[in-house]
Symmetry: C2
Subunit: 268 residues, 2 copies
């Protein structure tokens, strides 16, 4: 039997937390910076949302869920190790995310508890997990999803955590959350629409995951419902809305605005 620290589950946690765009961690750090919070104070919250996101990918990739063999250009955890390791590594990454939010550097107990509450609400059965459950239910539904249903699904599956990531800066600063929430709501939807665009137009070598999968599965997506041109137009409009939401912050919001523009320029 291997020792404590060289258990496959520990290696798999580290593996799953590597790579990716770090969009969510960036949103935490940049929303904090915009509101005058130092990176040294915000860094554990950024690490927490990335750990939470990594857990969700490990579980979503499992054979009983989306059954993906490739993630960020590498074999998924259940392929590289096995399903038991994928369950446990995902479980422990979720725990780690909440543990990171107890870091005293984040601020007073009440601030840290507000972060814990926000992350829990974004990721649990009212947020990310609900979105994933709706996504799986849609696969066996008699009718393809409507645009309203896909939008609702996305708001949970990817939107809630993106929204929390941007709001985290306001929580750390003790500032009004509304502008960052409006920004991130538009950003999150644009992000998902663009993911659907890339599933049709993308290059697996660039995206680091299988492409054409949704279309092959006959799954309703923003592109299948709107067409490519209209999907692109909506994403562009959402990015404009995201920018407008940050107008109160003037030039300090430039990095977040650039991030929104990146979302609909990216090839991966």
């Amino acid at each position: 039997m291997a020792g404590l620290t060289d258990q496959p589950v520990i290696q798999a946690m580290r593996y799953a937390a590597q790579g990716g765009k770090r969009l969510r961690g960036f949103l935490v750090l940049e929303s904090a910076r915009m509101l005058g919070v130092a990176e040294t104070r915000a860094i554990s919250a950024a690490a927490a949302v990335e750990a939470l996101h990594a857990y969700s990918l490990v579980h979503d990739d499992m054979p009983c869920m989306d059954d993906d063999a490739l993630r960020r250009g590498l074999p998924t955890v259940h392929v590289k190790w096995d399903e038991a390791t994928a369950v446990l590594a995902g479980d422990a990454l979720q725990t780690l995310a909440f543990e990171m939010l107890t870091d005293p550097a984040l601020g007073a107990g009440d601030t840290r508890i507000a972060l814990v509450a926000g992350l829990a609400k974004a990721s649990g059965a009212e947020g990310m997990v609900l979105g994933q459950a709706l996504d799986i239910a849609a696969e066996t539904a008699a009718q393809p999803l409507t645009l309203g249903q896909i939008t609702e699904l996305q708001a949970g599956k990817t939107g809630a955590l993106i929204r929390f990531s941007a709001e985290a800066g306001a929580i750390l600063a003790g500032a009004d959350r509304a502008p960052l929430r409006a920004y991130a709501t538009a950003l999150g939807l644009a992000f998902q629409i663009w993911d659907d665009v890339l599933d049709v137009t993308g290059d697996a070598a660039l995206t680091g995951k299988a492409v054409g999968k949704d279309a092959a599965a006959g799954k309703a997506t923003f592109v299948s419902l709107l067409g490519l041109d209209e999907a692109r137009a909506r994403a562009t409009d959402l990015v404009r809305q995201a920018e407008a939401a940050l107008s109160p912050y003037g030039a300090a919001a430039q990095n977040l605005i650039d991030c929104a523009r990146f979302v609909i320029a990216r090839q991966s």
Copy 2:
């Protein structure tokens, strides 16, 4: 597509949280009561440890883990629904556990953060998940586990959460955690030894789960390593140690002492 609140994942969460002995929730409430903390203040912490425990059972029962079809006398979640629902319901129960620890009734922000930190440490890759990983690794190990290894495995897999549950009362009361920690460490080990005894001597109709499973799998247990009589004697000795640890509290500790005695009297 079903609506939001009637999703199978929500039903499965409720299902998985029902039944059981409620040992961990009892330890929270009773350690709190012993130290003068009202049940109304402690109840969310008791619910949190039970939700955390329920999540661990749902995932541990999955085919890629312990592959159990029966739990608390009922079909396990992946049998009653499917594996995807089991992954998601377990994930959301873990999230719910941390969310419950944000309840303002538990006390000041610092108190709640101490509970979040304690639950994370008990349940993550340094605690419960590590124990489960060691348990799975043992199944394919060339040699059966030694007594030291089984004890270490148990300290993580079931011991850590039992320890945190008892310590939670001291966290809520702002009291010394050491006596409750010593009590729960002995109690947790006695509990696991007795589980191994019941796996040999128990009745599936009473335990609500399959019996004789470990022996059939040739798995090393406290009983296979010590024999039935010595395993019973050690459990009895541990219960005496648990009682002694609570001597500072006199008669106020009677319910916790009764609980320790119950652990080695129980038939399920």
